[in-house]
Structures are given as structure tokens and as C-alpha cells.
Amino acid sequence: MSVTVLDTALGGGEDDTFAGRSTLASAWIRLRRDRVAMISVAILVALVVIAVAAPLIAQAVGWTPTQQDRTHGLTPDGLPMAPSARHLLGTDNLGRDILVRTVYGARVSLLVGVVATGLATIIGVVVGVLAGYSSGAVDTGLSRLMDVVLSFPFLLFAIALVSIVGPGLSISVVVITFFSWAGIGRVVRGQTLSLREKEFVEAARSTGAGSARIIVVEILPNLISPVLVLATLLVPTAIVFEATLSFLGLGVAPPTPTWGNMISDSLPYYSVAWWFTLVPGVALLLITLAFNLLGDAVRDAVDPAAQRTVTERR
């Protein structure tokens, strides 16, 4: 378990706040006190609001994401226009408004990131629990399956797959999900293996509880914390994956704006139109940074022991 330092200045367990509360409830309290985590949450909430309100923003600014400004969109040399009152964050190589395109790009990033992470988490937990709980041939089979998926040169295979099926939003989600679930599955399997041998599971079994009941009532609740951490950290990975596919021209098809294809379009213009790369680039960086910081904070919140030992060890 890695430990980060950009963290809460938490006292640990010595105050009464945590007495008699469940693990998750006290984790939530810890998270609420974490300034960095709360700033990340604020940034993410703001981004979600912006993404949802994209059409309103477009209306307010007066440009649609694919609309070309035929009179003032490009300089006389045919280059993107710098930020001005007409285009607050400048225009791209086709005279389109960068602000509106970036705002719409947030929709794709968030949608793909969250949906792919959700699907990958569900598949990973189901497969991981089945493998970890059922031992024997089922475990061997599922573990090998996860090994095979993790052995795939995933970006290469994703590129091949997307090029055949044709790029699009849903294929991006499918590809990212396919290459992400096994990582979660592996960790969940390991956790389930050790949970299965714990006394409370044995106690449940001795009272006559069946496998299904043990999994749902005893094992799954104990997996929430690790899965929560993994899932939070998977979102930025999925977002970068989507942006990379878009960047290589294999994501959501143009003219729909994504941060990846905007940055790709901007490549030939980096020396004359810094805003063209910078605006979607900063947006992408902001979202991944916020999710990574939040993931670290969640990890610290659900596993405060990992943090306290660092100071105690000195």
C-alpha cells in the first residue's frame, strides 16, 4: 500500500469522532476533513456541471461546437485566432470556438471515464469474487483468463479493434472496459481469498449460511473500501485511455469534440496558436489530477493505519 503525503493532517484514532461508527462512516468523516480531497471534489463537481450545462454555455457564448466562424474565425493567413471578446479562448484550425468545444469535450471524457470504470468495476468484482471464493478449477480458469487479458498489448489491440469496428463512443467504452476489469478482478480475488478464511465468515458458515448469503452479506461489504479506491484511481486512467484513442484518431469521430482529438488537431499549430493545445490540455490535466488526488485521499481515508505507521516508524 503506498502512502502519500499530500494528505490530511489527521490525528488518527485518538479523538471520539470515530467511536462506534462503521469503517465507511469514519472514512467519510476523514475524507470530509481532507482539504485536498474537498478541493478535488469541488473541481470535479464543477466539471460535471459544466459538462451537463454545455448547451447552455454554448448558447450564452453564441457558438455551437461544430460551427465555423466564417468571417472572423481565422486570421488572413488561415491560422487560428487568438483569444478575444468574440472567441474567449480563441479558435481552432477550422475557425471553431475553443471554449465551446472544450466544454463539450468534457462530456465525452466524463462519460467514457465514468461508464467504463463502472462497467469494469462490476465485471472485475463479479469475476474476482467468484474466482477467490470458489477455488479449484473455477478459480484457476478465471485467474488464467485475467492473466491472458493482462498479457494483451492493450493499446495495440485496442487500436486494431477500433480500426475494424470503426471509431465511436460505445466502442471506446467497450475497449477501455475490456482492458481494465482484469486489474480490479485480480485485487478483488486476492482480497476474497483472505476474507474467506476469516473467523466471521467461518462463523456465518457454521450457522448454516449458504455461499450466496456469505458472499453478499459477509464478503462484499468488506470489499467496498478497496474497490472504491481502485475505482476512483481507474477513472483518470480510463479518461487518459479515451484521450489517447482520440488523439490517435481512433476515438469518438470528428467533428464531435473530444480533448484528445482537439489536442491532435492542434499539433501542427503549436508554435502559432498556444491556446489551441493549452485549453483542452489543461482541462485534461485538471480532471486526471483531481481524480488522482481524490483517489489518494480515499485510500488514506479508508486505510488510516497505512498513514499513521509512517510517522510512527521514524
Partner: protein, 337 residues
Amino acid sequence: MPWTRPPNEPSPRGGELPVISFIVRRTMFGLLVLWIISVATFVLFFVAPHDPAKVIAGRLATPQTVALVRHRLGLDQPVLTQYWHFLSGLLHGNLGYSFYSSTSVNSLLASRLPVTVSLAAGAAVIWLISGVLIGVLSASHPRSKVDRGATVFVLAGLSTPTFLLGILLIYICFYRLHLIGINWFPAGGYVPFTQSPYEWFRHLVLPWVTLALVSAAVYSRLTRSSLLDTMAEDYIRTARSKGLTERTVLYRHGLRSSLTPVVTQFGIDVGTLLGGAIVTENVFGLPGLGQLAVQSVTNQDLPVIIGIVLLAAAFIVVANIVVDAVYAVLDPRVRLG
């Protein structure tokens, strides 16, 4: 994705010659994985709605020309026959011929491999040294300014997409420096080592840094947590109580055993790098395997794509086997189940 591999779960069984049987078993499984990947790639291209013959014959080709091309490529034969041809070639070490340029896939891969290996090896050296160094510095001074700086570095590294970093480096180290008359770094391209080692180095510095940053972040985090765990062990307390200096304890006793997970991760990453250099190669215009992959996909050049995917998968499988074996040798607690 930089998934950290969980430590091996040893099974209690042990054989007569555990190491050999272990390696044989791992190799067999590795071959199985390779076969599955080859079938998956093959099937993928046959269920595809695309017709490679049409793409290759060109947009204006007559149906007769398309049929001729299809026949010449052997695409008019039943799928199973085609697969059999492919498999028997593969068993002889022959990956077939490119649909597009009629050169053998083997020679295409061989011509691109040095570029990707140059890129991957240099990047690996950079991330390994910087990652371990930063990890040790921050673990030996927890909660200090160094440690906090290192955490910021890790977060920045993990959050920056490779292509964005590449563009940023080109902008700053090529364009801005170029404007003030400094031409240290070219914006892209590749010069073979045999032609000019200096130019080779100059052209690869930016791609190396680009590719290395994300992994350097992962490694410094890995080294830090592993070293912190190790420094809490009893034998470290013993070493301290003997009166050894903190420096000796750290470097002689602590670092050695805490590098095991780093070695594990390194083996896995070296294998994955081959496929993962795609983005860097495309940003910097390096004619490596990654660039070839993207080109072949655009051209629907099936044999080349299968060749690249198989080569990349083979590297990953071999790296996994080597890592498992090395891990077992390094850490006697791991039994070869």
C-alpha cells in the same frame, strides 16, 4: 495501465525440481497465451466488415481487379485454410508477407525493432534511476520538503497523458529554445546508432523523457512504500541497535530487499513498453513498431498487425516468466507452486 502486480501467491506444493517444472509450466502457459492472442487477432479481422482487398486495390478499382487482388493475397480461400497457412508459417518462424508492400513481415519488424528498442531501453534507464532515486530520497526523509516535492512529482507524472507531455517538451525544448538560438533538441525523427551515436542520442532525449515520466512516477511511489515497509522490519532495528549509521542501514540493509517489487514491476513494464511506445513514436515521428502498427491498421495490413501484436505479446509473456523466476530466486520465501 500501470497496474501494480500483486505479490505472487505461492501454493504449498513443491516438486522434485521445482524451478525447472515451474519454468516449463510457465512457458507452456505463455505459449497458450500467445496462441490465444494470435487466434483473437486473426478472428477479429475476419469478422470485420472491412474487405482488405478492396482497400488495397484502391477506390477506383474494378470488381475484377479487387477479385484478382483477393486471389493473390489468398483471401478467397476458406478461413480455416488461411489460418492453417498462417499457423504453419508461424511454426517455421515466418510471419507471412505484408498485403501492402509485399515484403516479409519478419523483415519489416526487424527494420523497425531497433528504433523501438532504442526508445524503450533509454526510457527504462531514465525511469529506473530517477524513480528509485526519488523513492529513496522521499522514504528516507518522510514528511520533509523533499518527500512532498516527490509526491507532487508522482501525481503530476501519473496525471499527465504521454502525448500531452510530448507536445509540451517539443514546445519548450525544441521551439522555445530554437527561438532563442539554442538547437539542442530536434523536434522528431530518428538517426540510427550505427550512423551517428551522438545524433541518435540527441534525437531520442525528448522521447525518452516523455516515455519515462509516467513510469518514473510509478516507480518512485513503489520504491518509497516498499522501503518504508522494509525499514519497519525487525532486522533493521537490529542493524540500528548494532550502532550502524542510518546511511549504512538504509543502503546496505534496507534498499536491497525493498527493491524486489521494483524488479518485478520492471520486468512487466519492459514487456509492455514495446506496445506502449506507440504514442511516443507517433508524437515524435519515430519509425518504430508503434508507428508501423498505426500505419498497418490504417492500411488494413492484416499480416503486419498480427505480427506486431504477437511480437508485443511474446515480449510480455517472456518478461512475465523471467520476472517470476527472478523473483523466486531473489526472495526464497516465494515457493514455486
